[in-house]
């Protein structure tokens, strides 16, 4: 698509572009080198600040914390997808009695900060272990965003699809289940996965109600005097872990999208509104 925006570069432009590339990479390398140099200068790479990583207990606890993050993510993701599907169907319902409450629920949970949701569930409703409050909060918030994604996906399908389905005598539920949803989900896969990336990042808010996840553990280790309060080193490691996990998910999205494109059965949408919805959700 973007190739339409400009002419194919000629030999001179290509040469110029190569020059830009070299310059750009040089600037980037210089920038990274500068950051590393300053960190080293301020002692962030001193061996004492990295001793924490050698202890078995710390390693195991770190992995445990990582596992807790992944657990909350997995449970939250499955439930959010379910919630999203149900409320998307609710919003698309022909009956006002179902449509209006569904819309209210989705709008409400999109508006309230996730932190507040988690707090209310843990402290207000007393769900017991922090895990449940974290998962419920993640489910409701991300589920509402996903509901919007699904809805946009179904709406963006060509009308002919549902018309044809009705014409062959399908009932409303059948049209939704057999014709519209499967296509919508496929078309929206990248969007859905990027919302799941958001969900993964949001698990970090669990630390507020003492859920023992990765970021909480990082903050704790970063405050330990015996290790030289390795706040910056620990953060570098944990940031790398988060980015790696999210990248894996994003790659999954790209992979699925590519496989989709090869699949002739998928309908090319003129617009992808759901992708926009998700590009937006943070």
């Amino acid at each position: 698509m973007s190739s339409v925006l400009f002419d194919v570069p000629g030999p001179r432009a290509r040469l110029r572009h190569r020059l830009y590339a070299v310059l750009g990479v040089a600037v980037l390398v210089a920038l990274i080198a500068f950051v590393v140099y300053r960190f080293a200068e301020s002692g962030q790479f001193d061996s004492q600040k990295w001793t924490w990583i050698q202890y078995e207990k710390v390693q195991i606890d770190l992995l445990d914390a990582l596992l807790n993050t992944i657990k909350a993510f997995a449970a939250g993701a499955v439930l959010a997808l379910l919630f999203g599907a149900i409320f998307a169907a609710g919003q698309l319902s022909d009956h006002k009695v179902i449509r209006v409450p569904s819309m209210v629920v989705v709008e409400l949970f999109r508006a309230v900060p996730l932190v507040v949701l988690i707090f209310v569930f843990h402290y207000g409703v007393s769900l017991g272990a922090p895990f449940y409050s974290v998962v419920l909060g993640l489910t409701l918030y991300n589920g509402s965003v996903l509901a919007e994604v699904f809805r946009a996906g179904v709406l963006s399908l060509p009308r002919g699809q549902s018309e044809a389905a009705y014409a062959v005598g399908m009932r409303k539920t059948q049209v939704m289940n057999y014709v519209l949803l499967p296509q919508a989900v496929r078309a929206m896969l990248p969007a859905i996965i990027s919302q799941l990336v958001v969900l993964l990042k949001d698990t970090a808010l669990g630390f507020l109600i003492t859920y023992e996840e990765l970021l909480r553990y990082a903050r704790y280790v970063g405050s330990i005097f015996e290790f030289g309060r390795p706040l910056v080193p620990v953060t570098i490691v944990v940031a790398a872990m988060y980015i790696a996990m999210c990248l894996l998910l994003t790659w999954l999205a790209t992979y699925l999208e590519k496989r989709n494109r090869r699949d002739k059965k998928v309908i090319e949408l003129a617009q992808k509104p759901a992708e926009d919805v998700v590009a937006a959700a943070v």
Partner: protein
């Protein structure tokens, strides 16, 4: 109600600061995000690569870590002197929070704008090239104005998310809505009621944004 009235000294400045933080970073991220989106569709490959790399990395990092970088790691780089920067400690942390919010949100704005550009029919770009417009002219006067239409709903969601994300600044020395509950806990107030008030304020702030989105959507919608 008592919790709200007894602690107006928290709620008032808290929400004013939230709105201030939101407005400045909204403008900043819109500008930076649009520039990034232009980079991502630019003719020069290295620009596209850099734009893509920025978006990939920033979008996959939890916002707390971005905040963390600006509050604690950035001063170590000694690019600016933390002692004098902004003239004061709170000035420094406020600027740090703005930087974190703008840089983070810009990545999302960039994706929204880019997908908006993709909705503009190919013929528009071809026609403007045929007229001899340069790449910059074409984007600025033909493609981006038309992309605005498709961009409104997702952009509003991005901005709502930004509004809610400002609460994370509480842990980084910026007093705003997110700091209220910590203050209330120390005063021994009922935190749940305090938090419900915070939630209510957010709903009140978000509703007009949603309404604006709906009306813009309706006004600018065209049959294709």
């Amino acid at each position: 109600m008592d919790v709200l009235l007894d602690n107006l000294d928290l709620y008032g400045p808290g929400f004013l600061n939230t709105v201030e933080l939101f407005l400045i970073s909204a403008v900043g991220s819109l500008v930076l995000g649009t520039i990034l989106a232009m980079l991502r569709v630019a003719p020069v490959p290295v620009m596209r690569a850099m734009g893509a790399a920025y978006v990939t990395i920033v979008r996959n990092t939890p916002l707390t870590l971005v905040f963390f970088f600006f509050a604690f790691a950035f001063p170590l780089l000694k690019i600016v002197d933390a002692e004098t920067f902004g003239g004061s400690a709170s000035g420094y942390y406020f600027t740090a929070a703005l930087a974190a919010l703008i840089l983070y949100t810009a990545a999302f704005v960039c994706e929204v704008v880019r997908s908006g550009i993709n909705t503009v029919p190919v013929g528009q770009a071809e026609a403007s090239r045929a007229l001899g417009l340069t790449f910059g002219q074409m984007l600025a006067s033909v493609v981006l104005p038309q992309a605005t239409r498709a961009v409104v709903p997702p952009m509003m969601s991005t901005m709502i998310a930004l509004l809610k994300n400002t609460t994370i600044a509480a842990g980084f020395s910026v007093f705003q809505a997110g700091s209220i509950s910590a203050n209330l806990a120390e005063r021994g107030e009922n935190q749940l009621i305090g938090l419900l008030w915070v939630a209510a304020f957010f709903v009140v702030l978000v509703i007009p944004m949603t309404l604006l989105q709906r009306s813009l959507e309706k006004r600018w919608s065209i049959a294709r």
